[in-house]
């Protein structure tokens, strides 16, 4: 990933945050992300994020599980090692259903968890820059990425006008990185006023 410049603003209240998100989008600034202490209903729509495809992925994983279970069991009991179990047929579908169901759920669950981790870029050992220590506590943190066309002072003034406080500029790694916050974070982030 790349080290980029950001302007960070803090909000105390969702009621102020929502109109601010709208203003930022209409003004055409590049919204990096908004960090909230709890899930805020409708914020994804306000930010213009697209609907997740996680459930489509889940469906595909589930179908894969169903197919795997059915084809493997049929192969085992019909081709590889046919056994007479209680006089039941070699393809006893009712007996296969619980296992098929379980494997469907297992594939869907494990697959979706891993896809979710991938989409959110979270994994043990993977770190991301924290723009403000209170972003998981009681502050709503809005981060705007600075591009070549945007002027930092102008964005700061804009955020202040939209109701943010403690507006500051940060230079930080935009993606994920391996390491430790106490040892490596300075490498990736340089507070503008430091």
């Amino acid at each position: 990933m790349a080290v980029k410049n950001f302007v960070v603003g803090l909000f105390d209240d969702e009621a102020v945050l929502f109109p601010a998100v709208k203003k930022v989008r209409t003004a055409g600034y590049k919204l990096h992300d908004v960090y909230t202490p709890f899930p805020v209903h409708g914020l994804d729509h306000a930010m213009g994020l697209r609907e997740t495809s996680l459930h489509t992925a889940g469906f595909i994983y589930g179908i894969t599980g169903t197919t795997t279970a059915l084809s493997f069991m049929s192969w085992v009991f019909n081709v590889d090692w046919p056994l007479n179990i209680g006089g039941k047929p070699h393809f006893p579908l009712p007996a296969f259903i619980p296992i098929t169901f379980e494997l469907t759920v297992l594939f869907a669950a494990v697959g979706m968890v891993m896809t979710f981790c991938y989409l959110c870029q979270i994994m043990p050992g993977v770190k991301k820059h924290i723009f403000h220590p209170r972003q998981t506590d009681d502050k709503f943190v809005m981060v705007i990425e600075l591009t070549e066309k945007t002027n930092a002072e102008e964005v700061k003034a804009f955020l202040n006008a939209a109701g943010a406080h403690d507006v500051n500029e940060q230079k930080a790694e935009a993606g994920w990185w391996f390491g430790r916050y106490d040892k490596n974070d300075e490498v990736y982030s340089v507070p503008a006023n430091a």
Binding site: H41, G42, F59, G86, G87, P94, A95, I97, P98
Partner: protein, 401 residues
């Protein structure tokens, strides 16, 4: 804001036409099915009266379950299940008349345990007679029907009464408390009846030699998912006619999720009942599935699974269909028809035996649908469509899935 329902002339006409069709079918059935064939006349009545009674009773269960769970989302349309549940007394009366004629009219082609000579010669029925006898059947039926009607009327009366209360925190707390207590009471009754004894005596005793401990849950799942579909249909109808201002796609989405989830729940019970019997493969248990899976009823048995599991599973899986009024209305009709078919294949192989084209049963079903539309639309006019003093109303208005 339109919150006082007025029955449109067209709906009234539809309900009368459907009831007319039902009555006509009943008359034709009375003439067409005589002597040996009279079994079909009564089997059709038993199937339809029990199915439609249980799906309207599902509305009372909906109110009770959501109240006990302290749910807020359903308050915006709570008057709809309330109105549907008010069809319970009339349908209970019809069912009561039907089963009493079956038991005391000696209709042994439906319940073969009503014949005393037959029971005396039959070891299984003799053992079961402590439970499966006319006295117990009648007492249990009267008690359960009376309790269902009592609780249904009580919940409805309280809800309307609360419209006249003033809005204060103390009245709000009192409202929640007394609703919780009465709904708790109803759930105990419901569990001990629909969840246990009632389907045994009304439906399972058709195959008196056979038993399944899953049977009541299976019947409950069937009637509950159809009951949810019925609620959804009325909600959609009212919404399309400009009522229920506070109900949005969010509420529809949740109803759709319920229909989706309980279709799967029904399948789980369908399969559990089948698999245990298939696995053990004991003649006294497999006799129930013999005509259904290997006999004439095979197409219906698998059609049942196709309509009630595969269709809702694939159709309601997508978020967009659950939030689309037309799509949910369509699948609700499919689910209700599918479970009506389910009740048909529960009653018929043990009584009529042969697979017949169900024109008579379907005609009766239309009559019951007309009766439900008539009763429910009448009840909807009796109170404001929004329980305006309910403390959770705001939660329902701002509801977001």
């Amino acid at each position: 804001m339109k919150d006082q329902f007025v029955v449109p002339a067209r709906l009234k006409k539809t309900s009368f036409v459907l009831m007319g069709v039902g009555l006509l079918t009943l008359l034709i059935g009375l003439i067409a099915f005589q002597g040996e064939n009279a079994t079909r006349f009564w089997a059709g009545l038993l199937q339809n009266s029990s199915f439609f009674l249980l799906i309207t009773l599902a509305s009372t269960f909906f109110i009770a379950a959501t109240t006990l769970a302290h749910g807020g989302w359903q308050i915006a349309f709570r008057r709809v299940p309330e109105a549907i549940s008010m069809a319970v007394p009339a349908l209970a009366a019809i069912l009561f008349v039907v089963v009493m004629i079956l038991v005391f009219g000696g209709k042994e082609h439906i319940y073969h345990w009503v014949n005393a000579h037959h029971v005396a010669e039959d070891k299984i029925l003799t053992w079961k007679s402590a439970f499966l006898n006319k006295g117990f059947f009648t007492t249990a039926t009267i008690i359960t029907l009376a309790l269902w009607i009592f609780f249904t009327l009580r919940l409805r009366k309280m809800s309307i009464e609360e419209d006249g209360w003033d809005l204060r925190p103390e009245t709000g707390r009192k409202l929640i408390w007394r609703n919780t207590v009465w709904c708790g009471g109803f759930l105990v009754v419901f569990t001990l009846s629909v969840g246990s004894t009632t389907p045994w005596i009304w439906l399972m005793s058709i195959d008196a030699h056979w038993f399944s401990t899953m049977y009541s849950w299976y019947t409950f799942a069937s009637s509950w998912v159809s009951g949810l579909s019925l609620i959804a249909l009325f909600v959609i109808y009212l919404k399309k006619h400009g009522y229920l201002t506070y109900v949005t796609e969010e509420h529809l989405h949740d109803l759709g999720k319920f229909m989706f989830a309980f279709s799967i729940f029904w399948t789980y019970l369908w399969f559990s009942q089948y698999m245990l019997i298939w696995y053990a493969n004991m003649p006294e248990e497999t006799e129930y599935f013999q005509p259904r899976v290997w006999g004439e009823w095979r197409p219906i048995f698998f059609l049942n699974l196709l309509i009630n599991f595969i269709t809702p599973l694939l159709f309601l899986m997508k978020r967009d269909t659950k939030r689309n009024y037309t799509a949910v209305a369509f699948i609700a009709v499919v689910i209700i028809f599918g479970h009506w078919l389910d009740f048909w294949q529960m009653v018929y192989p043990g009584t009529v035996k042969h697979l017949v084209f169900p024109w008579y049963e379907f005609g009766l079903g239309l009559g019951f649908v007309g009766l439900i539309i008539f009763l429910v639309s009448n009840q909807l006019t009796k109170a404001s469509l929004v329980p305006k003093n309910h403390p959770y109303l705001k939660e329902s208005i701002v509801h977001h899935t």
